[in-house]
Amino acid sequence: HFPRKLKWNTNKLTFRILDYTPDLQKSDVDKAIRKALNLWAAVTPLTFKKLHTGTADIMISFGSGEHGDYNPFDGPNNLLAHAYPPGQGIGGDVHFDEDENWTKDSTAYNLFIVAAHELGHALGMGHSTDAGALMYPTYSYRTGFLLSEDDVKGIQELYGPNPNPTGVTPSPDSPKQCDPMLSIDAVTGLRGETMVFKDRFYWRLHPQMPEPDQILIKSTWPSLRNKVDAAYENPEKDQVIIFSGIRMWALNGYDIVEGYPKYIHKLGLPKKIRKLDAAVHISDTGKTLLFTDEEYWSYDEATGRMDSGYPRSIEKDFPGIGDKIDAAVYQYGFLYFFRDNLRYEYSYTHKKVWRVLPTNSILNC
């Protein structure tokens, strides 16, 4: 919240769109604003009435540079928009930087997402430190219901809940890097970096950066699913393969390779397999191991075929790690298996678990 917890003293608010951006059709701007208001209305008793003339509580406009409030914008990028907390006059007003390229999709700055954030300010919300919250200060593209539990808790502290709940489910708060109970969905290398996937996010670990970055998956790859099941890097092909459900995507650097997504069955997996738990490429052998439930397959990258004699039991072939895993990665000559909050350092040559570490140790915890 803002200092002194500024809020409107009525639940019946008015808004007016003073001007429109030429980047979008008028109707698209109207839709984006209405959709953004509905987001907050869904979880509060607030209602929003559109005015076409006169002064509304929330006045919405587009402007470039200095646009009348002595709080200038800065041209393309960086500052996208700003809004004023509830109050008389300029209070509650929302300004968008006209120098940005506003879109309906993920190709540039999505007006709906920015409007939803700014309207949060117009209702009394300050910035959140939770990277998964809509009220986080930096822009990231996302899909689905935009409000996180943190956003909902914040707005309901000001206005209370919606007396007629709409049944929408807020996104859970972002996973905490050093949570001792942290489990992960997938892990892979990417040109010397390590990427750790968990829920809607991934952490990017760069050897020259002391702390991992937490980023929304959708923010980097809008066309990818919100959850990654498994991932592996094939350094020989300079590709990272990402699995989600029955589909897989190939990345070259951060770019999705043309022709993807493809079905995971193209690898030779039986149709009954609907998702993978983990995948890991062993560069010494050229084989990729694909784990699902209690079994695993071996895929030969050179021939592009599954090896015969598979699936085999995880428990029998990798003694000490249990019968099911969440994620796997091959680093420094060791296979690291992740299961719940534990990370097993497994020696491929000695066929035994070398060390057991907490899962969060991969994130420098």
Binding site: N78, L79, Y84, T138, Y139, P210
Partner: protein, 79 residues
């Protein structure tokens, strides 16, 4: 010696960013050292974004400062 142009740009970016979003005071504040204020404010920003709190302008911090964002300050009054 004058700083290389890239460094100067980065410092200017950081100063502008911290002034706008974290209320870094402009110029020298009486007997207080401007460098101390800068370090204190940068730490505040690093804590907010869950970066490693060093009080110095490292690559990671500059990267966050360059991201597209909302113009409302992260801390303090906005009137």
């Amino acid at each position: 010696l004058p700083l290389p142009a890239d460094d100067t740009d980065t410092w200017l970016l950081a100063e502008k960013y911290l002034r706008r979003f974290y209320g870094l005071p402009v110029g020298l504040q009486g007997s207080r050292k401007a460098a101390g204020d800068f370090q204190k404010t940068i730490k505040q920003m690093q804590r907010f974004f869950k970066l490693k709190v060093t009080g110095s302008l490292n690559e990671e911090t500059v990267e966050v400062m360059k991201q597209a964002r909302c113009g409302v300050p992260d801390v303090g009054e906005y009137t």
